[in-house]
């Protein structure tokens, strides 16, 4: 009876229920977060774990390092291009899936499939798909005569070396990112589109607005919060991703054609053992992600109010 009395009191029950989560956040998020800042201004390595503060030397040497600068630029390029492509393609898919047609269930199924695969498995699948010798895409292009013959559209070589050439490797990474994010973006957009009251679209029709005017004056403005959420999620996932790059190219083709902040940080800190440098690289995530987090929180607050 006494126990029930305690559990009935909100001022005791609330902190009690929050305790496990709070503990988790402090130990596994807060602690590493603080430690990464500490490491980044020290010279800690795997071999020498004693923390000695050396100030901003890590950051200075990073900014002078070509590999780092390339990684930084790549991270932004991959993110911006992937997110833009995802938004456009998800729109098209969402419009398609809003209409009724035979086999809709099947289209919906395959659209959602990429999301169900763990990212590492998806990337490994693409490793085969983009293989330098056995790529099915190359096989298909050879069948069509667009590859492997002198004067062919894609060149005389028998393969395109998707992961071996800098430009194609970057495109491949972007391809996998888009492939992975499309289901999520499509689902979010479908929900958003469904929430536009049908009568508003009809009113616009009665007012004489054609498809494109409706799209730009009515649909897109009303979808703005939903698109915003999609962009935020897509950006978070792509900006911080290490898996796709690591599995597909390890950051290559040399030197660092597809290296991103996350993979470089892993390479330097864990594989290379230089924890301090690795942490310093990871710190560069902070301004961008903090900014995004503030935007997300602001949007979330507005959604609750309205």
């Amino acid at each position: 009876m006494k126990a029930r009395r305690i559990l009935d009191r909100e001022d005791i029950l609330a902190p009690l229920l929050l305790l496990p989560t709070g503990l988790y956040i402090v130990l596994f998020v807060g602690f590493p977060f603080v430690m990464s800042f500490v490491y980044s201004i020290s010279n800690v390595t795997v071999g020498n774990p004693h923390i000695k503060i050396i100030g901003l030397k890590n950051f200075i040497s990073l900014l002078q390092d070509v590999a780092f600068r390339t990684s930084l630029v790549n991270t932004f390029i991959f993110t911006v291009v992937s997110v833009s492509l995802v938004i456009v393609l998800a729109h098209i898919l969402a419009e398609l899936l809003l209409r009724d047609f035979r086999g809709k269930w099947f289209v919906r199924f395959i659209v959602l499939m990429p999301w169900t695969a763990p990212i590492a498995l998806g990337a490994i699948g693409f490793l085969w798909f983009l293989d330098s010798v056995f790529s099915p895409i190359d096989w298909f292009l050879r069948m069509l005569g667009l590859l492997g013959k002198p004067g062919a559209l894609f060149g005389p070589a028998s393969n395109l070396y998707w992961l071996g050439r800098p430009g194609l490797a970057m495109a491949s990474v972007i391809l996998v990112h888009v492939w992975r994010l499309l289901p999520l973006a499509t689902v979010i957009l479908i929900a958003g589109m469904n929430s536009i009251p049908k009568e508003i679209i009809e009113a616009a029709q009665m007012d004489g607005a054609g498809y494109f005017r409706r799209l730009f004056h009515i649909n897109l403005p009303l979808l703005f919060p939903v698109i915003g959420v999609t962009v935020l999620f897509a950006t978070f996932f792509t900006f911080t991703d290490m898996t796709v790059v690591w599995i597909l190219t390890r950051g290559g083709p040399p030197p660092n054609a597809t290296q991103v902040l996350a993979s470089l940080s892993f390479l330097t800190g864990i594989e290379g053992g230089d924890l301090a440098q690795g942490a310093a690289i990871a710190i560069f995530f902070f301004p961008v992600l903090a900014g995004l987090a503030i935007i997300v929180l602001k949007l979330a607050k507005k959604a609750v109010v309205t």
Binding site: P197, E199, I200, E202, A203, A204, Q205, M206, D207, G208, A209, R213, H217, I218, P221, L222
Partner: protein
């Protein structure tokens, strides 16, 4: 009879197996306001949407000013519609909402401003032009919706239950204003509602609908005094017409024409033995619920007439106030 401005010929609309509209012929004269009155599912909204061009008829022709418009998209029919939920664009100001059809048309800025100011002035919302829809009241939203419909000077105005989302009190004044307004502008109007009081107050003519067909079309007086069948008789008028069975027919009479025998004047009134079950005093009149034999009936009487619950009285209806209906079909029998 003026030439029909809007004409519906043999209109049918079937959704798979559902016959939403099942053969309707209607002529609406220029400047007239015709009310489509009926319960939910009667097909009145579907009929309006067919006129608007938001749906295509399964059969039949829609003619506006002599032109068959079945294949003409909504915009080019010269029709404007006020939706039940107003359907204002939530992300645009009131000004931009009203201006939208003109912006689509591509009119110059100056002209747009003039027309928006005219329309908003007409509806008394000129002071709200810079507000967002979320910042104005329900009644004001409705006026914005009407302004947006009128700003283009449409040939035909369609209104889909525009008053039903308003508070009861506002609804009454809005109705009066709407009627005055429609007469001033003189635009041909088709108005959909399930509220028979609204229909009676607004319509030049009323088309009473049920199950996709028009049961009767006529002036409010005609519909009320001479309903064409038991459906119309029971739908129009609150409380609805009373029905009792006599000689294999259904005999109907309005509650306000059902009076104590000594008050009923005229030759040969029909005498009915009325047992009072309940009296509802509504202030300016009272509703007396009771039975004649097995049939439940209501009388609408002045408050001062004394009646006790549980007692029986001799009541009467004048011969000329009786209406006869076929017991099987519900259709009116004359005489």
């Amino acid at each position: 009879m003026r030439m029909a401005y809007v004409e519906l010929r043999g209109i049918k609309k079937h959704f798979d197996t559902v016959k939403a509209v099942d053969g309707i012929d209607l002529q609406i004269a220029e400047g007239e306001i015709v009310v489509l009155l009926g319960p939910s599912g009667s097909g009145k909204t579907t009929l309006m949407r067919l006129c608007a061009g938001l749906e295509r008829p399964t059969a039949g022709e829609i003619v506006i000013n002599g032109e068959v418009v079945n294949d003409v998209p909504p915009r080019e029919r010269g029709i404007a519609m006020v939706f039940q939920s107003y359907a204002l664009y939530p992300h645009k100001t009131v000004f931009k909402n009203i201006a939208f059809p003109l912006i689509v048309e591509g009119l110059p800025r100056q002209e747009i401003r003039k027309k928006v100011e005219w329309a908003s002035g007409l509806l008394g919302i000129g002071h709200l032009l810079d507000r967002m829809p979320s910042q104005v009241s329900g009644g004001e939203k409705q006026r914005v919706a009407i302004a947006r419909a009128l700003v283009r000077r449409p040939r035909v105005l369609l209104m889909d239950e525009p008053l039903s989302n308003l508070d009861a009190k506002v609804r009454h004044t809005a109705r009066v204003e709407l009627k005055k307004f429609q007469q001033e502008i003189g635009v041909t109007t088709i108005y959909v509602t399930h509220d028979q009081a609204e229909a009676m107050g607004l319509g030049d003519r009323i088309a009473v609908m049920s199950d996709g067909r028009v049961r009767q079309i006529g002036t409010p007086e005609d519909i009320y005094r001479d309903p064409a069948d038991t459906f119309v008789a029971g739908f129009v008028g609150i409380p609805p017409m009373n029905f009792v069975e006599r000689n294999g027919m259904i005999v109907g009479f309005r509650p306000e024409l059902f009076l104590p025998a000594d008050s009923a004047q005229g030759a040969e009134p029909m005498i009915l033995r009325f047992k009072v079950v309940r009296v509802e005093n509504l202030g300016s009149f009272k509703l007396v619920y009771g039975t004649i034999g097995d049939a439940r009936v209501v009388a609408n009487l002045p408050v001062r007439i004394p009646l006790d619950e549980g007692k029986e009285y001799d009541f009467a209806v004048r011969r000329e106030d009786l209406r006869y209906y076929n017991k099987q079909t519900g259709m009116r029998i004359k005489g």
